[in-house]
Amino acid sequence: MAGLIQDIKLFGEDIPWFQGLREKGMEAFRRQGVPTAKTEAWKYTKPRDLNADDFVMNDSAFLAEFEGAHEEEHSGCCHHHGENCHCHEEGCRCGEEIDVRVDLPFDGYQLHFLNGRFVPVYPVLPRGVEIMTLMEAVVTQEAKPYLGHLVDLEHYPFAALNTAYMEEGVYIRIDRNVKLDKPVILVNHTEADAENLFYNLRNLIVVESGAKAELIEWYNYTGAEKSRYFANVVNEIFVERGAELRHYKMQDEAFKANHVALNMARVRSDGFYDAFCLQRGANIGRNETKVLLKEEQAVAEVNAAYIMHGWATLDTTTDIEHLAPETFSHQLVRGVVGGDAKGVFQGKIHIAKHAVKTEGTQLHKALLLTDTAEIDVKPELEIFADDVKCSHGAASGELDEEILFYMQSRGIGREEAKQILIDAYLDDVINKVADVSVRAWLKDRAGA
């Protein structure tokens, strides 16, 4: 565990409520440790590889700034505080306009992280949208009513660990009734020099009553093929009354990388949380989404797709808690598993007592491409109210030989035919993404 618990100085240790949260996180993680084969929630995804002691954590970028430490240790430094740097040394990129912007086929408010650190280049935001670093939100107390409120430290060891090292991340608030015109895009670049890096990222997203927003997360690896690192992400998401958040995620990590993410969303009455995640890459990639449908008429759509080769384990885990009457959730997950890879889907629909007139549906389908591919599925219903409509389905199989033959007989090459079928298979769920240009981009990434 040495690798995951390291003695590093973090910013904000003098803020009691915040430091208190971190300490609780550390205690909870020490109690639980890295999950083992006996941990039910991690039954199929073995986080052995995460329990390595050669991970390296970033020093606090914020402390460096506030204590002036960076003047001595500027090399490879400080993308976050450009104009304050006066070192003028060769190789220092401070003071330059760092161009991290990426070309995407759709417009949006881009925010960037590089190897787990926020790059302080802000887009011009319209009125009614506030974006700041997590630490700013902590210092100004903005984050206080939200931070840590949704995460159950005792059941999510990696979220507890994330809480212990909270520092990097952003706070996004969409004010009441503001309808955001373009998506907020969080691009997480990981470069080759991130070898063995272990970073924690904590984002807070608050969509106030009647507001409407779209958030895109892109974990984009651009370094050498074999880079190994561990990204541990927690998003706390608040969808208030009548608000709507569409949350799309593209996980494009290095194939030896590890990516564990927990999305904790709370939806109030008439609120709508629409999530989609496309997983590709990573050695272990787990995208876990927990939604609390807290009040009547709260709705969640949680969809996902994964496509994998090599020996990856990609894991989609969901837990939808219907806590009030007349709440609705729908889940559709599709996966394509090749190589020696293992696909994991664990989906749970929980319906609390008295949460009547509720509807929860879930469907998981997977395609196995090779003899060594594996799929493990655990769709779960936990129901404590009688007047509900709940269903789940799961199916797995291979590409239909009859169809392949038919396509071949029409002159389409076998590999091409397979690709066409795989694309069509995934299209079914990617089509659930409402934003047409984002949908097209995701399809493009899926086929890449």
């Binding site: 493990d376 599925v377 129901i383 007047d387 389905g393 199916a395």
Partner: protein, 482 residues
């Protein structure tokens, strides 16, 4: 008189029951579990050394195990040293007349249409053989079966008369290391049934562990072993639709089935142990390990169960499909009412090629009860062409019960096709009103709809069993509406 009746020995092992009465009335073993108790059990049963050794090994292993806690069940911790593992059939507690018997129990008998004499026997007022001419029934059957080479006797008897068969198969499907309760059973099992169907024989009648009532005192740790040789067939019925007066709190049984090439075994269970009262007081804890190994090509095992009794049920009849083209089926109706808890389902382990399995599970929860379907479908890397279809439906009656579905699906072969569907619903107001509008009363309507809901499973029960089971469902749901 006892000595004149050794030939009674019907399938529940009465021979030994009578033996016990005379032998140990004076030396009932004390509470608690240790090697001496196991030696005593083995000695009293006149077992060979190898079986004692096996029991002792199981006991040693059991001491290293912990009771499983993963099931969605909550019950008071069982003190294993506070139980009797060897005792004479209870006589002291028997009521003297039906007047002394719980009125609720009598009502149930009446609804199930059980004749008075039988009711007395069930309640323990009179001896079983005072009701049925079980001697003649048993001997007639046994003679007929013996002609065909079928062995159907108590397992204790089989240990003595067919030691090679028992030694070859006992523990071969459920090893004593399998799980906590199976291990306990292996150490202390008291009796149970043994069935052997020789090659090419179709058993001409349904074999039944009990004629309705002679199950009394079979014991808490029952062990059944069924072996079906190549090209054979047998249908086996276990249980009884009438709730039995039972002082045993803990039951930990094992059923092992070996199915060889082209053979087929149907195993049907109706379980209606005492479920405890309305407030959850009393009732049986039922921790059962049932497993069938389809060892030969084209072999088939079919489990059908109707579970309505017990305060706590922990039971997953499983199919290990080793032979190519072998087939496993699991049809289940589980009903929980009041404060009952059931965590039940199946495991389908596909190992051979082109193996198929089917799971149809119907769960009905009422009152304050909680029920979980827990199932595993696993396809091993070499199980090319494996097929599974699972359908798990739950029906909730009332707003205070819970219904949970936890399937595990593990596929390691791309050619396997696995489908799982589950739904949860309640009896709709529309259906209810439709029945009422045609003059059908509320309870009758519920039972109609519930029986309709369970139909896919019930039709797999042997006819006479199915009729009783349908009645039982109605009785189990009483008081769940209105």
């Amino acid at each position: 008189m006892v000595k004149e009746k050794p030939e009674i020995a019907d399938e529940s092992g009465d021979k030994y029951k009578y033996g016990f009465v005379t032998d140990i009335a004076a030396d009932t073993a004390p509470k608690g579990l240790n090697e001496d108790i196991i030696r005593l059990i083995s000695h009293k049963k006149g077992e060979p050394e190898w079986l004692l050794e096996w029991r002792l090994k199981a006991f040693a292993f059991w001491q290293t195990m912990t009771e499983p806690s993963w099931a969605k069940l909550s019950y008071e911790k069982i003190d294993y040293q506070d139980l009797y593992y060897y005792s004479a059939p209870k006589q002291k507690a028997a009521p003297k007349s039906l007047d002394e018997v719980d009125a609720e129990l009598l009502k149930t008998y009446e609804k199930l249409g059980i004749p008075l004499k039988e009711q007395e026997a069930l309640a323990g007022v009179v001896a079983v053989d005072a009701v049925f001419d079980s001697v003649s029934v048993a001997t007639t059957y046994r003679a007929k079966l013996a002609e065909m080479g079928i062995i159907f006797c108590s397992i204790s008897e089989a240990v003595k008369e067919h030691p090679d068969l028992v030694r070859k198969y006992l523990g071969s499907v459920v090893p004593y290391t399998d799980n906590f309760f199976a291990c306990l059973n292996s150490a202390v099992f008291t009796d149970g049934s043994f069935v052997y169907i020789p090659k090419g024989v179709r058993c001409p009648m349904e074999l039944s562990t009990y004629f309705r009532i002679n199950a009394r005192n079979t014991g808490q740790f029952e062990r059944t072993l069924i072996v079906a040789e190549d090209d054979s067939y047998v249908s086996y019925l276990e249980g009884c639709t009438a709730p039995q007066r039972d002082e045993n709190q803990l039951h930990a049984a094992i059923v092992e089935i070996v199915v060889l090439k082209n053979a087929e075994v149907k195993y049907s269970t109706v379980q209606n142990w005492y479920p405890g009262d309305k407030d959850g007081k009393g009732g049986v804890y039922n921790f059962v390990t049932k497993r069938a190994a389809c060892r030969g090509e084209n072999s088939k095992i079919s489990w059908t169960q109707v579970e309505t009794g017990s305060a706590v049920t922990w039971k997953y009849p499983s199919c290990v499909l080793q032979g190519d083209n072998s087939v496993g089926e699991f049809y289940s109706v589980a009903i929980t009412n009041n404060r009952q808890q059931a965590d039940t389902g199946t495991k389908m382990i596909h190992i051979g090629k082109n193996t198929t399995s089917k799971i149809i599970s119907k769960g009905i929860s009422a009152g304050f009860s909680n029920q979980t379907y827990r199932g595993l479908v696993r396809v091993a890397p070499n199980a090319r062409g494996a097929r599974n279809y699972s359908q798990c439906d739950s029906l909730l009656i009332g707003e205070n019960c819970g219904s949970h579905t936890v399937p595990y699906i593990e596929n390691r072969n791309k050619t396997a096709v696995i489908e799982h569907e589950a739904t949860t619903s309640k009896i709709s107001d529309e259906q209810m009103f439709y029945c009422l509008q045609r003059g059908i009363g509320e309870e009758e309507a519920v039972s109609l709809i519930v029986n309709g809901f369970c139909k896919e499973v019930m039709q797999h029960l042997p006819m006479e069993f199915a009729i009783e089971a349908a009645k039982l469902i109605n009785v189990s749901l009483e008081g769940s509406v209105g």
